[in-house]
Symmetry: C2
Subunit: 395 residues, 2 copies
């Protein structure tokens, strides 16, 4: 009657969504202030005021048929120029608008890129822990996801990576800062990764693409820098979204960056255009493109995330919880004190702490906390974490 695959995808709600729904029910029972929901990665920081100001200005000064009209399929020229200029200023690159294709957010960027690149039997390598939708997107666009586990530091295990590359490998996806671990891939690892890719490209006589999924690029804390990957490896394609940096997840706006240096640039860029068309993306939302023209390079007040992180880190150290190196994004990846993270999350529920077990991220034994929540909630939750730690005899 219908596509069985699509039905199953629609019927199977994600673990995160289930925890979120449980949280809603529990809040109704005992009051929202008594439930400590760390399940969802929804920005808690408002968009910078310039976003709403720009929207109001546009509705007052721009011709309605331009503001609400189609842009070209690849995106508005001025918007793409503004993004290229901003990247060039920050990273010393030399992009033009012709390297950019505007999209309806990160999921669209990824699906379009996978669809553009994937030929029959192609494999795409992802590193665990990973964003669970990667597997859905790769499979749906005709590829086969191949998982490589990170090492105990949650950095890429280069040896395991090299072994996973075959003649069928079309691309590798990296996500730094990482969801769910919050880890930033350090420069040494980036260099090692790129050296392996260069070697394997030669060995197999074909291009292997590095897809950098970086919606959290600007969310890093302290003096940590995120290596900008097009500078390390020619065949890099960047997938970006303004969901996190500008706190605009619902407005669905992002881009794909295909540098000139990519092998057969023209071929790839056209395939991206074709893939967008085949998936039903006519153009990225036009008014939001015009907003980005003006707001490129701005961010929400991400200092709040740093504050949240620091409070949690300090407390967790005291309570005896171990975490992955938490340099970016708004996630803490905490080692479960027992083997089963799912069981640990069930115990945490007794304290009304809602955490996500790491199994669906392909990396068992951890729990993910999204700290894009109110600082107040974090502070109120600390005694609960302390009790939880005591139950497991930590410190």
């Amino acid at each position: 009657m219908v596509s069985k695959e699509m039905y199953e995808l629609g019927a199977k709600s994600s673990v995160i969504r289930e925890i979120f729904e449980y949280g809603k029910k529990r809040k109704a029972e005992i009051g929202a202030e008594n439930v400590y929901d760390y399940s969802l990665g929804n920005p808690s920081v408002p968009a910078p005021e310039i976003v709403n100001e720009t929207i109001r200005e546009l509705t007052e000064n721009m011709l309605s048929t331009d503001l609400h009209g189609y842009t070209s399929a690849v995106g508005d020229n001025e918007t793409r120029k503004a993004i290229a200029d901003d990247l060039n200023n920050r990273f010393g690159t030399a992009f033009t608008m012709n390297n950019l294709y505007m999209t309806c957010g990160a999921a669209a960027s990824l699906c379009i890129t996978f669809r553009a690149l994937t030929e029959k039997d192609d494999e795409i390598i992802i590193f665990a822990p990973y964003f669970p939708e990667y597997k859905v997107f790769i499979t749906s666009q005709g590829g086969t996801p191949v998982e490589v586990k990170c090492n105990s530091e949650l950095q890429i295990d280069l040896e395991a990576f090299e072994k996973a590359i075959t003649e069928k490998t079309k691309a590798v996806v990296v996500n730094s800062p990482n969801n769910p671990s919050g880890v930033v891939i350090n420069e040494e690892t980036v260099k090692g990764l790129c050296a392996i890719l260069e070697r394997k490209q030669k060995e197999y006589g074909k291009a292997i693409f590095l897809i950098s999924d970086e919606p959290y690029r600007e969310l890093v804390y302290g003096d940590v820098t995120v290596p900008f990957l097009t500078k390390y490896y020619k065949n890099t394609i960047v997938c970006y979204s303004y969901s996190k940096s500008l706190s605009l997840p619902g407005d669905r706006i992002g881009y794909i960056l295909v540098p000139d240096e990519v092998s057969d640039f023209g071929l790839i860029y056209k395939a991206v255009c074709g893939a967008g068309r085949s998936l039903g993306y006519v153009c990225a939302p036009s008014m939001m493109q015009f907003v980005i023209r003006k707001c490129v390079g701005k961010t929400g007040d991400i200092a709040i995330y740093k504050k949240n992180r620091d409070i949690l880190l300090e407390a967790f150290e005291k309570y005896g919880f171990k975490t992955a190196k938490p340099d970016g994004a708004f996630y803490l990846f905490v080692k479960s004190p027992i083997e089963s993270a799912t069981e640990f999350c069930e115990t945490a529920k007794k304290y009304d702490l809602l955490l996500v077990p790491s199994d669906s991220f392909g990396f068992p034994g951890y729990v993910r906390l999204s700290y894009c929540v109110s600082t107040d909630m974090i502070i109120r939750s600390l005694p609960k974490f302390e009790e939880l730690a005591k139950e497991y005899g930590l410190n």
Copy 2:
């Protein structure tokens, strides 16, 4: 290196786009006021003022993290309620929010629906003349498009339709008012179509879906009514977009309506959710969903389209051009006075009249005029049409 299919889709620009690009060049040469561009179906009427007012209100009064945050994947509840109420008021139906799935516009609605329904070897019937992207969307989602030509009145040829249905037929797409012909499917034809579908469902012991693609639903002129198809046939799925009725094509907002009466409603609705997910649609643009909540049932000033149509019709009758019955949308489908519509369009170019030959709509021998242009341009173009008619010895 890349998907050949996607490259070709991206590299092959549409005939309409080529004419539009030619127009841009020509305008630069001889002045925009001397080129009469009837190529693009981009609304020329501004969005009703309530749209921009609502946007400003939302940016002032709604919490940023709600306004710009994710809605649930199926869409905001209040928005879906408002749409269901509006449909019920206008059509005497009994929909609830649970029948609606919000989308990023018509192309997304169609791709998601095709993806949800299509199993291996499924055929989907489309009627020529058709919107050319139908074939792209159906093929990309795994189906096989089967074309059935309309009769000389540009109504569905029921006999040809019945013959085209096989045990592989999964769905039939209708588009009324029609792009490119402007024709509205009359009630008699709708009833005939549905009777055939009922009969064929019984014969093959399976559901055959009627997909009603109706972005032009509100754009009808005179006392013509567009039959609301869910009332004629249980297995109807409606794909809608606000691109035309509210003049918001760039903002990408629409919906899929799956009535309770559809066979295995739960299965279909879940498959729609799964298909949206697999194509990278996380949620429909949130701010635009909140705009629709308030603006549902409104339209732009479509009286302008009627005026444009009437001016052209009156003139064309005088000049001796024959057109299809032009009851809706903003297209006139004009019979080419010679066999080759492409050749006729080339001749029209000499008068700087830019028309689209009907070959890419699967129905040779006509040209499409989009009259969603300024009335002024239409009036200025009339002497050119008169000269063109004389060149062919019409009247």
